[in-house]
């Protein structure tokens, strides 16, 4: 059965690109347009194996979203990859403290993302 990945990004084109890469690698994909929508989708989904999340988004940013996920009894073990244009070391430290497992700066190479996804899904 295909592993499910939740993609959270306010850019629909970026979501399309990530979805394309993941679907071609055999993953099932759920999309959300910001952190708040991401939490909603997470609650609605039967099972999510990994989250790929942007940092700077409207309504709720990625780091806040990760904080909420890690406080949730059901979702706290889901690994999160931050995929963002943000490259401030303080933000990276915040994401790590919030519970994210990896940080990937855009633009990214699809094989690079897939490698990170497979490592964390299998971990």
């Amino acid at each position: 059965m295909a592993k499910t990945v939740l993609i959270i990004d306010d850019s629909s084109s970026l979501r399309a690109l990530v979805k394309l890469s993941l679907c071609r690698a055999g993953y099932a994909v759920i999309e959300a347009c910001d952190g708040k929508d991401g939490l909603t989708q997470l609650d609605k989904a039967a099972k999510v194996h990994l989250i790929v999340c942007d940092v700077n988004m409207p309504n709720m940013d990625g780091i806040t979203m990760v904080t909420h996920v890690k406080q949730h009894a059901k979702h706290k073990f889901i690994p999160v990859i931050m995929l963002t244009t943000e490259d401030e070391s303080s933000k990276i430290a915040q994401a790590k403290a919030a519970g994210a497992r990896a940080w990937l700066t855009k633009p990214f190479n699809p094989p690079q993302l897939l490698d990170a996804v497979s490592k964390l899904v299998l971990a």
Binding site: L14, I81, T105
Partner: protein
């Protein structure tokens, strides 16, 4: 007034610089639109500054040629906030429109380019590496198998023809032997005729011998009967051998004709098979070339899809500009005095998410490094 001017002198060119810097990310329509917005911002501010300069000169008494009252319009300090209040929402709408349109268009491009890649793969033009895919391997195996299997077919057909030739030779040899047998049967018939003649003479001599020759006459009669039977049998054999000879000749002729036809058919088959194998080899070479070229196209498309991530970076830049315009509008509408440009820019820098933005604000460094992918950081 001075604060307004100093602040806008710094802020509006920054919008223009940020917009003009966007083409460095990539070459799509958004940067041009953003550049146009930046240029418009600079133009508006240039007009405002000209009005302000004229007003200032008139107020300082340095304006000698014209009555200052005749040139005096609304004071720029009074007209600028309403102007910006009117313009900024429109600019923000344009920026949001550009951002959303680009996002949708780039999303479509990603989907379409990916569809092209998938079609290429479905057509068997590409593989994930230089090694062929399962389907391609099957095709190549089929080509190789065809070549490997067709060659023995020709050899087998040649062997069959050779066997038929040997069979024809055997039939011919049998025909010769049959001819010899027919000759021998004729010899037997001659011997029977002579034996019959001898039996007749023996019977005559037995009759001349009288009573003493009666037994010999019986023997002579039996010998004559046997010689006649031998003659009939020899004639019968000769007749049958003649039939066999006719059949043998027909068979031999048919075999010879078949051998010629078979040879001709085999030569034709060999030529056809060689032609087919030639096409198979050419097809195999073309398939390899197509796969190689398909891989190049696929690689280019994938690189293109990755490059389309520029839109997300552009969107980040636009979002910061949009938020800063909102902040400017809110500041103008508020009662608090405007901050100086340096203070404003410090706050603006706090909204930046990328090194390129930080570099473009007060730095001449190129933002070209934006296109390079960076390593994953695992925690």
């Amino acid at each position: 007034m001075t604060i307004h001017r100093r602040w806008l002198d710094a802020a509006l060119p920054l919008f223009a610089v940020a917009s003009a810097g966007l083409p460095l990310f990539h070459r799509v329509g958004v940067p041009e639109v953003m550049a146009a917005v930046g240029v418009a911002a600079a133009s508006v501010w240039a007009a405002v500054r000209a009005t302000r300069a004229a007003s200032a000169l008139a107020a300082d008494g340095a304006w000698q040629g014209t009555d200052p009252e005749a040139c005096a319009g609304p004071r720029p300090g009074d007209e600028l906030p309403p102007l910006l209040r009117g313009i900024l929402p429109v600019w923000r709408e344009h920026i949001e429109s550009v951002r959303s349109q680009t996002d949708a268009a780039v999303g479509d491009l990603v989907v379409n380019f990916s569809a092209i890649t998938e079609q290429f793969e479905a057509a068997g033009f590409t593989g994930t590496s230089d090694a062929p895919t399962n389907d391609q391997a099957s095709t190549l195996s089929l080509l190789t198998l065809s070549e490997r299997e067709l060659q023995p077919v020709i050899a087998s057909m040649t062997r069959i023809t050779d066997s038929k030739g040997a069979l024809a030779a055997s039939v011919h040899e049998l025909s010769v032997i049959t001819g010899e047998l027919q000759t021998m049967a004729s010899g037997v018939a001659d011997i029977a005729a002579q034996t019959n003649m001898l039996a007749i003479n023996a019977a005559i001599q037995a009759a001349n011998a009288g009573e003493a020759g009666r037994g010999f006459a019986v023997i002579a009669k039996e010998i004559r009967r046997l010689s006649q039977a031998s003659a009939q049998t020899a004639n019968h054999i000769t007749g049958r051998m003649a039939n066999i000879m006719t059949i043998m000749r027909n068979t031999s002729a048919a075999a010879a004709q078949t051998a010629v036809s078979d040879q001709s058919a085999i030569e034709l088959s060999g030529k056809v098979v060689e032609d087919v194998l030639g096409h198979v080899r050419a097809l195999s070479a073309e398939a390899k070339t197509m796969r190689s070229k398909g891989n190049v196209i696929r690689s280019n498309i994938e690189a293109l899809i990755v490059s389309l991530q520029f839109q997300d970076r552009v969107s980040q830049v636009i979002s910061v500009i949009d938020k800063d315009m909102a902040r400017l509008r809110d500041t103008i509408e508020g009662d608090a005095p405007l901050p100086c440009a340096d203070e404003w820019l410090v706050d603006l820098q706090g909204c930046y998410t990328m090194k390129e933005q930080r570099r473009s604000n007060g730095s001449s460094a190129s933002p070209a490094a934006a296109s390079a992918a960076r390593a994953v950081v695992f925690f």
